[in-house]
Amino acid sequence: MPSPRNWREIPARYRLEAARCRGCGKVVYPARRACPACRGQEFEKTMLSWKGKVVTSTVVQVAPTEFQMEAPYAVAIVETPEGARLMTQVVDCDPGAVQPGMEVALVFRLIRREGHGGILCYGFKAVPAA
């Protein structure tokens, strides 16, 4: 990921910054210009909780080149208490144990690296809730 793009996404990736629509109250992650529910354009900044529940998941055995060292790894759609849904890896456990309904905590981790000389891209991953 090129450096400017990674930099632009820091608030959402590092701090889970989201937007709450002033019109309908929907929490949109990451922030957008228009609300996907009511098309409102007035938002207030809100932070997602660093926890959630698995909606659905898989274990990626055949990974893209950049992620091959980590395979097999679990990826899940996680819903936070605010109702936002995000896709994330679930780590620090047996990937096969990740199933819908599982409670997770979100933690700050290295997500990908741009080769040996490029930038390091950080963000969130899920781990089993304590």
Binding site: V55, S57, V59, P64, E66, V75, I77, M87, Q89
Partner: protein, 382 residues
């Protein structure tokens, strides 16, 4: 709007075609379609291709392809909607003819996937880059999540998925252009390696090269080019949220439903009128979801359809008689056109051993990404 017909088709074999380049593939299919209709001029060319840029480093596909068939000068457009690029190219060509802007339009699809690109990574660019691909999800991974959600909601099993592969390979074994024209046994599918839990290798479509092309003209001109034209009665294109996470129900492909409703409405038919269908079985779970969303079976009943033979040749509503993406192959940009060709042949009695007897109305559904775009066409033999 004018009524529009398909009057001829051309298609390469699908597979790992080491001897053919992107341009060779297109030219082979396009020239075959032109020759079949004895046409030496075109008003316009519409080419569907997902990612010439990433697979072979080639953009600006429109003029390149016009030039390759000796038609530099003709209007040429490249359309992209990931794996639905072919279907959207057909729709674009249809609208161009229906509007009266052009009389003779070639709708084509092409993809060259085996030239050494990181296919998993290229395909993943059809997912949301910022929200999905960034985290290491793959296309099999996205459909595996859809499968797991479908299993949770409907009790679908790994065996139900495997039956889709068994059925489509049985069909594909009858298709000389299929990449894997052979039958597979249920046990073989169930024992194949896991790609993304719960999707096994034999529940996934292959990486393929190939091209397909159809020639469109106003229905009133069709008999100049063929004795057996097929009319395009309806077209429907719909979108859903780009990210799977943003769908209320990850097990339901709402864009497929919406695109189907639009095509049915325009055609003035309903699901019960469809006698043969090609649907986007990039993964076995996708066929189950698509036949449900298109109303070909009841919601939740899709999982039984392949096993019971409902969607097999000889069944009530044969689905993917070509072998589907699973057995025929899935050169992504070409798929939507290849689906239309299978229905075109079925409706004019040219499908050989795969012929659905007396089929008059058929449907083709082509999907992009994890279902963020879907395009449906309803055809009628005339």
């Amino acid at each position: 709007m004018r009524e529009v017909a398909i009057v001829s088709a051309g298609m390469t074999r699908f597979g790992e075609l080491w001897e053919s380049s992107l341009r060779d593939l297109f030219a082979e299919a396009a020239l075959e379609a032109l020759a079949a209709a004895k046409v030496d001029r075109l008003d316009s060319i519409v080419v569907g291709c997902m990612s010439g840029g990433q697979f072979v480093g080639q953009e600006h596909i429109g003029p390149l392809m016009a030039d390759q068939i000796g038609m530099a000068g003709v209007a040429a457009t490249h359309v992209e909607s990931a794996c639905a690029s072919g279907g959207v190219a057909l729709r674009t060509a249809f609208l161009e003819v229906a509007s009266g802007a052009s009389d003779l339009v070639l709708a084509a699809g092409v993809e060259k996937m085996t030239d050494g690109a990181d296919v998993t990574a290229v395909l993943a660019t059809a997912a949301d880059q910022e929200l999905e691909a960034f985290h290491g999800i793959t296309f099999p991974g996205l459909y595996a999540m859809i499968a797991r959600a479908h299993m949770q909601a409907n009790g679908t099993t790994e065996e139900d998925l495997a039956w889709v592969a068994v059925k489509n390979h049985r069909h594909g074994a009858l298709n000389p252009k299929a990449q894997f024209a052979r039958e597979v046994k249920l046990e073989e599918v169930m024992k194949s390696s896991m790609v993304s839990d719960p999707l096994r290798l034999l529940c996934c479509s292959p990486v393929s090269d190939g091209a397909a092309a159809v020639l469109l003209c106003p229905l009133e001109h069709a008999k100049r080019y063929t004795d057996h034209p097929v009319k395009i009665r309806g077209t429907g294109l719909a979108t859903s949220t780009m990210a799977l996470a943003d769908r209320k129900d990850p097990a339901f492909l709402d864009a497929v439903q919406l695109s189907g409703e639009r095509a049915y409405k325009m055609a003035g038919v309903g699901p019960a009128d469809i006698q043969v269908a090609e649907v986007h079985d990039c993964f076995a779970i996708a066929e189950i979801c698509c036949i449900e969303a298109l109303g070909l079976v009841e919601k939740g009943a899709g999982r039984h359809a392949a096993r019971t033979g409902l969607t097999a040749l000889g069944g009530k509503i044969p689905v993917n008689t070509s072998g589907g993406l699973k057995s025929k192959g899935h050169p992504v940009g070409a798929t939507g056109i290849a689906q239309a060709i299978e229905i075109f042949e079925q409706l004019r009695g040219g499908a050989g051993a795969r012929q659905v007897k007396g089929a008059r109305i058929g449907l083709a559904q082509n999907m992009g990404g994890s279902g963020a775009s879907s395009v449906v066409h309803v055809f009628e033999g005339v």
